[in-house]
Amino acid sequence: MRLAPLALALSACGFGLADDSSGGRDDLPLSGAGPFKKLAFDGDTPLEEPWLSTDPVFELSEPALMPRAGGGLTAYVTREGAAEPAGDTTIWRLEQAALDQLPDAAVEVLVADRPWEEGHVGAPAIVAEGDTLVMFYAGGTGIGRADSTDGGRTWTKWPAPILTDATSPGLAYDGATWLLAFVDGSGGIGLARSTDGHAFERAAAPIVVPRADDPKAFDHAAVAAPALGWIEEGTGRGHWALWYAGLKKLPVGTDAPLYAIGYAASWDGASWSLLAGNRPVTAAPASDPAVLLQGNHGVMAFAAVNGRRRAIGLAVTP
């Protein structure tokens, strides 16, 4: 994942549109469903919209978003190095005071230094547990945990992976239950549940899978990169939200895969409904969603290619 903590009150709880033949439910809680529109370029701002962070050398992807003290947001991103050994990844942190401002210089906060990580740490997913920030991250073929008590500047890793044979974590916490979404060998998005944040029980079946029987579906060919959130509403109840990357068609030749961002929700964390209407909440090209909901507004960070390198972009709800 990559979503944030969300004990943030939302005033509205909408319901989805009518069901259609391609799946999706009409009783879906829509808070968090956007749609998220990519920031339009504005030459009067320092930000090169929609890009929050872009680099001519390094691949940036898999963002996580957290609220920044004093306003704005803090982003954590996976950075893939260009040097030997090829493909190693690290996690970097950057702060943005306002949506139209350039972020501060990124700082490296997590590196691969455990054998099980196999040179890779990435795909951060962060929630707050009291004053502690809890990061789940992908490393090697498992998902690890690191904690921070200084607002995310330094992190202490747990010694062993939280979950094995899984990657690309999405994490949410409602104060009692932890949900962890991931991708694994099933080809779908799996889910595990915990009451303590370290002992997780995996659901028997994936919660989101490609809509292989509907060639028109935006997630017909593949699903990936889940982000989770707990959305507490003004009425006192809440629901779980899932954003994920969906791929309509496998790439041909040198084409890059054109992911779009989809949405699903659940009242109980066990039974999940896709957004009705077979529509993404963020248009392609966009992958690796991370969502920060503040009041009635939502900000989504995503990964997409800017020129020749993947970069982190921003999209917002109206």
Partner: protein, 318 residues
Amino acid sequence: MKVRFWGVRGSIPVPGPSTNRYGGNTSCVEVRPRGAWPIIIDAGTGIRRLGKALMDERFGDGSGTAHILISHTHWDHIQGMPFFSPLYRAGNKLHVFARQRGDTHLQAVFASQTEDPYFPVPLSALEASIEFHELVEGNRFAIDKTLVTCTRLNHPWIAMAYRLDCDGAAVVYCSDTAPFSDILLEHEFISKPPTGEPLPKAIADKLAAMRASLVALCKGADLLIYDTQFTIDEYKLRPHWGHSTPEDAIAIAREAGVKTLCLYHHAPMRSDEAQDAILMAARWSAKSHGDGFNVIAAHEGLELVLGDDDGLAPVVAP
């Protein structure tokens, strides 16, 4: 036994930022039976690094022995051979196996690779002793304690698939091959895809027999490494190039009852992100059909431990 991937790419090496994670070197896989000398399958550019690693073992002092199984002598499967360091140390023994050609002896094929003006060091000047062993389909032979079996594939000028049984496990290497349905590829250059007319019965029967032999070769294998260079859309454009799709590999794996299917011989234009998508789609394709085997994608550095090897076996042969 251990299986380690040193090169996973087809056609041509493609180093660069977009291929960092899966790797840009062409085909080379090391199979290391417990306590025995390495068996190397294919000598694409990945073999260069393998050679460097072997020089830290007994190959460095000229007392190593390696067996190299060549699927076929197309460039991407032999390009690294002249850069294989153990060849340049007296005392080392290399045994090279490949399919017998009708026109040229195997040794002459490799000798021509290093002739002037293509390379400065002729085969005859190499310090190590090299023996060439020609094979015909259906051969069964032993390399130390490993039983090797082979059958032919559907590729221009014919490639061989190998099965290695050792340490209570079996690995099958199947690269390069087209599926056995649309075209028979043998000893001629075919410049265009077939017209779509039904195949003559004799050719259809021959293809069916080749496929049956391959399924038999793969029967119950712990690991099936399979050429999946194309997506379905790409295959439709170039069935005469002699490569398969993940769907073809899944079908063979299903019929043969393998435990793990490894996507291999990735297309040179395929970015890491695109390969991720293809892997996810293949996993769901297998899962949604009720297949119980794992689907993974080969990347440089991937090491798998099979059978009764505990992963702690000495890598230096006695």
